[in-house]
Amino acid sequence: MASNLIRKLVLSSVLFFTTAASAETFVFTAIPDEDQTKLVERFSGVADYLSEQLNVDVRYIPVKSYAAAITAFRNNQVQLAWFGGLSGVQARRLVPGSEAIAQGVEDEAFETYFIANTNSGIKPADKLADLKDQLQGKTFTFGSKGSTSGRLMPEFYLRDTFGKKPEDFFSRVGFSGNHTRTLRLVEAGTYDVGALNFQVWNKELGDGSIDTDSVQVIWKTPAYPDYQWTIRGDVNERFGEGFKQRVTDALLNLKDPALLESFPRSGFIPASDDDYEPIRKTAEEIGILD
């Protein structure tokens, strides 16, 4: 029984390997920054589009954490990824030859919104420093631990403005997991204050799915670069000469309004690694990157 089982196991893993290798499926992933249903809807659309444009099988793999997206990219189990600013920097550091190829129009000047439950009595302000007394001792939630707009930038501005670690400034600090969760938790009053991706806020607001009597924006960060498509350096060897360029062109030419709306972005524009230098420096400063 034992030997049989082992044989089956070995056989099946060989089978996985060969089917995947012969079909040469182009696999991509994305950081799970929003609700699963939305991600699957959005990226299966992208997979269909890319498959049509590139004439190869394209598959989207949903993952459960930002780190899992980075790891899958690093391990060459996916060749392309929709990363946030920070996850992109982390991934490109780990995979020599990989590069940022496209970003959303909005990603050149991305923002984080600080939002507060109206019962907390916190009033909006133009400067974060003006909110010191109102914020001190409140409860606060970031998004995912690896998020740029949900963790890195808000943590940077909190430390920079108040000179303290968030845990020492607020009475309770949590990580909701993603932006939609942050919105829901602050709306429900589980946390007094939260920080989230401004595009998620705007989209939910536009869809009418925010109870504006319960939650409001209290502060907006200055602009910084965020999301981008990052591709591995070795795709040309595997999928043929000029493949990287074809993927880049396909992404830049993505004009389907419904698909763009699902991101939500108004379009994609070229990007380079250098665009994300400010993110790398910030991450080093607060000790997320060595």
């Binding site: 029984m1 034992a2 049989n4 089982l5 089956k8 196991l9 099946s12 893993s13 996985f16 390997f17 089917t19 995947a20 290798a21 696999v27 609700d35 699963q36 249903t37 793999i61 949903p62 993952v63 459960k64 954490s65 930002y66 780190a67 899992a68 980075i70 790891t71 899958a72 690093r74 391990n75 060459n76 189990q77 996916v78 982390q90 780990l94 439950n117 019962n119 409860t139 995912s144 631990k145 690896g146 309770r172 949590g174 990580f175 997991g177 993603n178 939609t180 969760r181 829901r184 938790l185 429900a188 009053g189 589980t190 946390y191 997320i288 990157l289 060595d290």
Partner: protein, 488 residues
Amino acid sequence: MFSSPTVRTSLIFLAIAVVGLFFADIAITTANPWQDLGNFFLGIVTPNFFSSEGLMTALLRTVAFAFVGVVSGGICGFLLALVYRFLPVRMFCAFIRAIHELFWALIFLQFFGFHPLTGVLAIAIPYAGIFAKVYSEILEEADPEPGRVLPPGTGNITAFLYARIPDCWVKMRTYTAYRLECGLRSSAILGFVGLPTLGFYLEASFSQGLYSDAGAMLILFYVLIATMPLWVRPKLLPIYVLGAPFFLGEGLPIVWGNVQRFFTEDIVPAPLRNGDGLTGLMPWLSDLMINEAMPGIWNTIVLTQIALVATGILSLLAFPLISNHFGGPIRRGAGHVLLVITRSTPEYILAYILLQLWGPSMLPAIVALALHNGGIIGHLIGRQTSSIELRSDTVQGFNRYSWELVPRVYRSFLAFLFYRWEIIMRETAILGILGIYTLGFYVDSAIQNIRFDRAMVLILVTALLNIGVDTLGRYIRRKLALQTMPTC
């Protein structure tokens, strides 16, 4: 009464938990916790079985991973049990079972990625350690008499197969079947880190507040576990075991270079990797110990001790639900259903649900651990009381409970509780992944920051803490002369 060592031990643990409560972060932070809880139960009674086309596949995968993981763990565990008398083997087994399935999964995800092997090994490795221990205990207790009557010159293997195995076979079979149920729970929660089992969909539905979808998944899972005696039949087992490997799903191909990189680069402490040598290692290690390991250990211990006592109290309250000394068959039937539900729901899923409903603090974790473990111990103790014959003119109601039954089962109750001490701690550590500041929180943070060197040190600390509690638990059980059978 206070001179009795069992009572004294109980009171000491109770006192530790009460002191722990002063240090613990216990709060309900959501604005409408009861409304959310109400919505959740509404979801359970209005299940939506057609929400996701992936649901049936997820159930199939959950069963497949459980079978392949438990069977491979069982085979390896049996082989290890044969050499269990050697100290290094015992230490090795204690070490691999001290690391939770989810931690193993997180480790393998880093180099095997989403390949089925990740899920199989995550179950098989810790289970091998547990199987080795329990099988060796069963083999040791076997009656030596049949071996003595064998003719001289009988080979070791023949003697083992004909004189030892037959005596142990029933016990080993019972225990293995029991582990299979545990395997289903382990397999389900692997979905929370991204493997294609039930937890994957459960997490997605829950975080979006789709309680009817989540309710359907939970109900299907309970049905799967409750009907195990019907579909796990000796004759069908070979079919399941041989078939299961084909239903693990495709996953993504393994790139073997990643394995080498993980062991030769990723987990090497950063100062050594960067060539700073031992002078750089000390500050790195002390930073890790002071800022992450110490707070993690403290919170893990505080939460474990409170959850342990809460489990004990709940077990004592729960066992009359199924004991045939109280109530009629209808009430007992309802009690059985309730206890099956609490013990079939993995702590991790219970804690996840309660965290969504009540907000993050230690409270959801305590309640989840107490419900699950209290369900298990309550069930075992309740069954034990049913076999006790009381005099026909004995007292009724509360007096029967407090003066007749509890004193009779108290020792085995304590034995189960101390046996589960280590299991509760292992779970407490892992619940950190959900955002409670136990060791798992820091392990998860290190992994999220792609710092596997730090994650490995913290997992090692967690394992050592577990081994410590396991040893202490065994010492107390020996000291109080408590005997128990293994539970998971």
